[in-house]
Symmetry: C4
Subunit: 281 residues, 4 copies
């Protein structure tokens, strides 16, 4: 029995084995197809003709994901840790709505949240390069966290100020029926989205809007500059680190520790660097 | 009495004490809630049902901010300096409209300008990191002031030139009723906002608009490049400075000098670096 | 005969001779004019009056390109290699639709795909500078391939998640008739395009859309930062390489090898660096 | 007489004297006011009431600019050179339309092209800092000329390709009445302008449009990266140069050589660096 659990564990959590890779790709395709099925069901013309087929497909996908969820719990050394981990909750969330839809009509649409499961499957494409890049991007964005907050804070103040002014200048007779709608207009303009559902008609409103557009057009430079600098720094740093800490340019093996769920072990690692548990189950 | 003034002073102007921090967070929440209240009052459906409650809430918030304003004057060493300082005027501006609304109907809406008071509360989030970042951003933007002016000047010239051309090409029969409106269209297009309320219908007008879009799409690179370079320089400089002038990595204490209203004193500072007045009132 | 083939070869594939340059410019103009002709034919007013003339023009252009295609095959040392090369297929694709239009009405419109032939003519403008720049851009974009994939993957997840939420919040009664349309709206908003054909009307939908706009406005910083860093690196690298490998600053000659179709030979090269075949046919 | 000409010359072409500065500011204000007058005349409501006043104002401005134009010719050492210089032609262009309007009704609107005269007045604001920044921006943009051309070339190819596809997919029944309009739609979407006057309604058209938006959203990174790198290089270079060639940090004097119309002389220059003519007329 234990041997079976080990084998399943390597298939589900591992990446470097052909079986593990095939499993990941199959899962990716299944998630995309199932989300596509849910989407189609909301398209009236399609649903009218193929309602039965779509519902059957959805139940098949849900059955597969439920089986997978059960297997993940079954092979985990610490099932509770998995169940309450970030990915564990997403896995649950991606099957629950379908079962709930038996009682609450329409709730199965929320199954499309299972697109979040793709987050785990970054590793399918070229594996480590992607994980390194995504963690680098994460670090770059986190490092500029404070700068981004200052930026958002400024955007909030501008939006409320100019939103109020626009409400005063244009008024309900020109479509600016209340301040929340005016603030919506301000954000739509500042971010250069520009729906055009509300448009200033008074000269003063048009002038203020032009100012707003140019401000929006200009301050986009701020987050760009911030993140750009951080990315440049991050790229430089990780290049140095790579050469410093890893002179032989080893790769990562992509195994998730069965004990503590940590990833990022060297290709030749035999024990988890985090908890010391063996990686060869 | 003086002891009471000192205590209040530390609560209102200080940041590092638990009481000071609690006061700042309370103020932040009060400002946001009061602005939200004013916004809701302009939403017809909500105001129709809850008019009485909203008005009472607004008067409560105004009472609180008026009390705070009085206290700030009371505990200041130089009240006049505070009253005519940037933040002093904003504090006044955020309570005046409500009292004016007794005489001038509708003026209380302007109370939402009190959102500007948030500027002082940057320090609530992680305190010093934010102040440093926002001052760094400010320096970066100021340093590229001349470049930005050249950029805006160019945008103005393009807008008037192409606005006139579009008025000539499209004419009033296609919605380009006058040059100011054409200039508005030009800015809307150049900044890639694109409301769609005015759209060129002649082939020549469409061609010119396409040129304009590509220009707009391209010159967004200019402010981005400018600010990016300045941010990179600023980050590099401040890192060096930090290590040069502050080998022990002290932090700032967040106290505002009672004498000259300056901020930015070191954690172990006993006297204001600006006016020499003691910081331990 | 062989002398004739050599001469034609140099005219068609070469760049540095006056005849070769003239041929390239002539081809560029012919492609642009022929695409313009096809476009005009779809404009009802123009086609109504000049239908005959436009059709004749199109057949003339097609005849010219067919002749050119035949010549390219005729002078190639390895005709099959040319026919199945990227440019060979495009050359075929740019004449086929016109002949097909004899059997399938309307298919000649696809002739406008011959705009792809312009890709080969980059070299017309200042020749080598352009080839170097475009290959540099290509390298910069390829180098950030992994980062860009991570970015697109994230955009996909955000689009499906928020698209589903918007469908739930706004619903078919506000124009969000199905999830695919909601996802379309999400992408339109996230990329700051903002058509305005679908606009949120519920407060919650407007709030979520504002979040989406600010996210979209912010994450544009990510590809910008990525590509910017790569371009900077690429520029730095190629400057060093230029000086290292080419101390005499030779230029490229722009000849395409008749044997293996490789480009990028030094000005004084006599043999192809790739297959060793002589370049002086 | 010659003394008078010298004095006028210094006022008109010089910058460092109080009179010269006052003249420049006066000119700037006059240009802006005159353009504003022309704009107002096209606004029906305003023109209806103040037609007479606006026409008189326009004639006054034209008279002033004509006098200035005559003076510029009069004090020039080589009048013909001035007349056919870039600024000379703009000066003429800014007065001609008004005189032409006597014969051709409506042509006076073109007077708003005199906004181009502002180009010469960059120097009004903080003088040299601006000239240096604008020349730096110009160098940065020129240096990335080839990269920008490659970029535009790519945009052209994408626009024609996808424009044709959209015409095929959506067709005239969905508003894509011809290929030029489809290309217009493609550019509107690619540059993230998004008017919303044409919107895809077929699933395939929506899918292609989403691809287009993401491409557009992504490739904005390319010009940004290009110009950013060039600006960074330019800033670095000019800082070095300033210190190398100008150890005493002299400033420029802002005088335009009366002989050859060159600008950019050092503050202590007595002769034109270009033609050797004395600068002290």
């Amino acid at each position: 029995m234990d041997l079976f659990r080990q084998k399943v564990y390597i298939i589900i959590y591992g990446v470097n084995t052909p079986a593990g890779k095939a499993f990941d790709i199959g899962l990716l395709v299944a998630i995309l197809l199932s989300v596509f099925t849910i989407m189609l069901e909301t398209v009236e013309g399609v649903d009218y003709i193929y309602h039965r087929e779509l519902v059957i497909l959805e139940w098949i996908f849900t059955a597969v994901f439920t089986l997978e969820y059960a297997l993940r719990i079954f092979v985990s050394k610490k099932p509770l840790k998995y169940i309450f981990s970030f990915y564990g909750l997403i896995d649950l969330l991606s099957i629950l709505p379908m079962f709930l839809s038996v009682f609450i009509k329409g709730s199965h649409i929320l199954s499309s949240f299972r697109i979040l499961r793709l987050l785990r499957l970054f590793r399918v494409f070229g594996l480590m390069e992607f994980m390194r890049e995504s963690s680098r991007l994460k670090v770059a964005i986190l490092a500029s966290r404070a700068k981004i907050m200052v930026f958002l804070y400024t955007v909030l103040i501008i939006a409320v100020l100019i939103g109020t002014l626009m409400y005063y200048i244009e008024g309900p007779e020109n479509g600016f029926t209340n301040i929340p709608k005016s603030v919506f207009y301000t954000i739509v303009t500042l971010t250069t989205v520009g729906y055009g559902d509300m448009v200033p008609t008074t000269p003063l409103g048009q002038f203020l809007s032009m100012l707003l557009m140019i401000i929006g057009y200009g301050i986009i430079a701020v987050p760009t500059g911030i993140v750009g600098v951080e990315i440049a720094r991050e790229v430089g740093k990780s290049m140095k680190e790579n050469y410093k800490t890893d002179p032989e340019h080893r790769k990562l093996n992509g195994i998730v520790c069965a004990h503590c769920n940590k990833e990022g072990h060297w290709d030749d690692a035999e024990y988890c660097y985090n908890c010391g548990h063996t990686l060869n189950i």
